[in-house]
C-alpha cells in the first residue's frame, strides 16, 4: 500500500488495515530476542537437555497437574497425574492457580522455589539439572490462554528453548517467542527440589520463606536438611542459621540448636531474635548465666523483639 494510492482511495477499510499493520509492527518491535548477561553466556554450556524428565501429555485443561507430575517424577516422587488432578485442579476455573501449584509440590515432600523472572535464571537452573515449571500466556493479554509447561533444555547457538508442553514433548520454542509469552505471567517460574537441594541462585528471603512454609506443613524433621544446606550456603545470613537452630531444637537436638543460634549471632550480632532464642535454649539447658547474658543482649537491641526479651529476662530473674 503506497502512500499515493492510499491518499486516492481514502476510506475506512484501508485506514483500518493500516492501523492494524502499524499496531502489529509496534507490538513486534516490543518483542525481541532476550539477551543473556555476558557472565551467564560464558558460564552456561552451549546446549543442555534434561533427557530424563518424563513427559505427561495434558488432557482437557490440565497442564497444571501434568507439569507437576513431570517435575515431581523427575525428583523421584512417584505420583500420577490422576492423583494430582483433584489436588490442584480447580473445576470452576477449568485450570490451576499458582499458589496451589506451589502448595501441591509441598504436599508431595518437595520444596517449591520461585526463581527470579529472567531467562538467565531459568537457563541456569536447567543447566544445573533442575527442570523449571513456567507459566505462560500463549495468547494476548486481552484473551489470555494461560499455560504451564516444563523447561527442560536450551540451545544458545540457535536461541531456542526446549519444553515439555501441553501434548508435545520436547517442543522447541525460540527464546523470542517464549519470552513474549512468558513475560505475560511476569515471568513466573519455579523449581521443585527435595529438602537438601537448593536452586543455583538463592534469593535469601524467598528461600527462607519457601523452607519455612514447607516446615509448617511437613514438620521440622522434614525441613531440617533444607535448613542445613541453606545455612551452609548463606554463611553470613543470621536468619538462615536461626532457622536451622529452630529446626534442630524442634527435633530434639538442643546442643545443635545452640550451636546454630551462636552462629546466627556471630554472623549478625544485631539479630535480636537469635540472641533471644539462644537465651531461651540455654535456659532450657539449665545454663542460667549464659541464658541471662544472651537475653540481656536481646533486650538491649531495639525493635520488635525487645519486649519479648525483657519479659523472658524477668521470668528468668523470678526463678
Amino acid at each position: 500500500m503506497t502512500s499515493r494510492r492510499f491518499r486516492h482511495t481514502w476510506n475506512a477499510r484501508p485506514a483500518g488495515v493500516l492501523a492494524l499493520v502499524l499496531l502489529m509492527l509496534t507490538l513486534a518491535g516490543c518483542a525481541s530476542t532476550p539477551r543473556l548477561a555476558e557472565t551467564t553466556e560464558n558460564r552456561l554450556p552451549r546446549q543442555a537437555l534434561l533427557d530424563d524428565v518424563p513427559f505427561h501429555a495434558q488432557r482437557d485443561y490440565q497442564c497444571g497437574p501434568a507439569s507437576l507430575a513431570m517435575v515431581l517424577n523427575d525428583g523421584g516422587v512417584d505420583v500420577e497425574v490422576e492423583t494430582l488432578i483433584p489436588q490442584v485442579f480447580l473445576p470452576g476455573r477449568e485450570g490451576s492457580v499458582q499458589p496451589e501449584m506451589l502448595a501441591t509440590v509441598r504436599r508431595h515432600g518437595h520444596i517449591p522455589f520461585v526463581i527470579e523472572g529472567r531467562l538467565d535464571a531459568l537457563l541456569t537452573e536447567v543447566a544445573a539439572g533442575h527442570p523449571v515449571v513456567v507459566m505462560q500466556n500463549l495468547s494476548l493479554p486481552a484473551w489470555p490462554m494461560w499455560h504451564y509447561a516444563v523447561a527442560i533444555g536450551f540451545d544458545l547457538d540457535r536461541n531456542e528453548l526446549v519444553l515439555h508442553s501441553g501434548e508435545e514433548p520436547r517442543r522447541v520454542e525460540s527464546f523470542r517467542r517464549f519470552d513474549a509469552t512468558w513475560s505475560r505471567s511476569d515471568r513466573w517460574a519455579f523449581v521443585a527440589l527435595p529438602p537438601g537441594e537448593l536452586p543455583v541462585e538463592v534469593r535469601p528471603h524467598r528461600a527462607m520463606e519457601a523452607i519455612s512454609d514447607f516446615e509448617r506443613l511437613q514438620g521440622a524433621a522434614g525441613a531440617l536438611p533444607a535448613w542445613e544446606i541453606l545455612a551452609k550456603r548463606l554463611e553470613d545470613n543470621g536468619l538462615a542459621h536461626f532457622g536451622l537452630g529452630n529446626a534442630r531444637h524442634a527435633t530434639g537436638d538442643a546442643t545443635g540448636a545452640i550451636t546454630a543460634f551462636e552462629q546466627a549471632v556471630d554472623a549478625q550480632p544485631d539479630l535480636a531474635v537469635a540472641w533471644l532464642n539462644l537465651g531461651l535454649a540455654k535456659r532450657e539447658q539449665g545454663d542460667l548465666a549464659a541464658a541471662t547474658e544472651a537475653l540481656e543482649r536481646a533486650a538491649s537491641l531495639p525493635g520488635h523483639w525487645q519486649p519479648h526479651a525483657r519479659q523472658a529476662l524477668e521470668r528468668l530473674e523470678e526463678r
Partner: protein, 132 residues
C-alpha cells in the same frame, strides 16, 4: 434505647474480638517450647503488621469456602487449604477470581482468531501449533 445500647456495645464487641484474635495471631511461640518460631522471625523481618497476620490467618476459612464453590472434591478441600502458606492463602482469598488459571484454552470469539493468527505469525503469541 436499643440503638443506644448497640452503639456502646458494638465497639466493645469489635474490640474484644480483635483483641482475641491478636493474641492468637501474635503468639509466635511453638507448642511445647517458648522459642520464637522461624515464621514469626521472618514475618517480623519483613515488617509485617499484626493486622496483616490476622488477615492471613482468617483467610483460610474463605479459601475453604471458595474451593468448595469452585467444585473441588470435599475430601480434598482440607488438605488443599492446609498445604497453602499464610501468604498464599491470603492471595487465594483476596483474588481467586483474578488469578490466572493455567488451562491452555482461549475463551475468545472467532474475530479474535484472525488477530491471534497474525500475532502468532509475528512470534508474539503461541496459540496455533501450525504457525511455527
Amino acid at each position: 434505647m436499643m440503638k443506644k445500647i448497640c452503639r456502646i456495645l458494638s465497639p466493645l464487641l469489635i474490640a474484644a474480638l480483635v483483641l482475641g484474635s491478636v493474641s492468637v495471631a501474635a503468639a509466635p511461640i511453638a507448642p511445647g517450647s517458648d522459642l520464637i518460631t522461624t515464621q514469626a522471625a521472618l514475618n517480623a523481618e519483613h515488617g509485617q503488621a499484626d493486622r496483616e497476620r490476622i488477615h492471613e490467618i482468617l483467610a483460610r476459612d474463605d479459601v475453604r469456602d471458595q474451593l468448595i464453590e469452585q467444585g473441588v472434591d470435599l475430601a480434598e478441600v482440607e488438605a488443599r487449604v492446609a498445604a497453602l502458606s499464610d501468604a498464599e492463602a491470603a492471595q487465594m482469598a483476596d483474588q481467586l477470581e483474578q488469578l490466572p488459571a493455567g488451562a491452555s484454552v482461549v475463551g475468545a470469539l472467532f474475530a479474535v482468531f484472525v488477530i491471534l493468527l497474525v500475532t502468532d505469525i509475528l512470534g508474539l503469541t503461541n496459540v496455533f501449533p501450525f504457525t511455527r
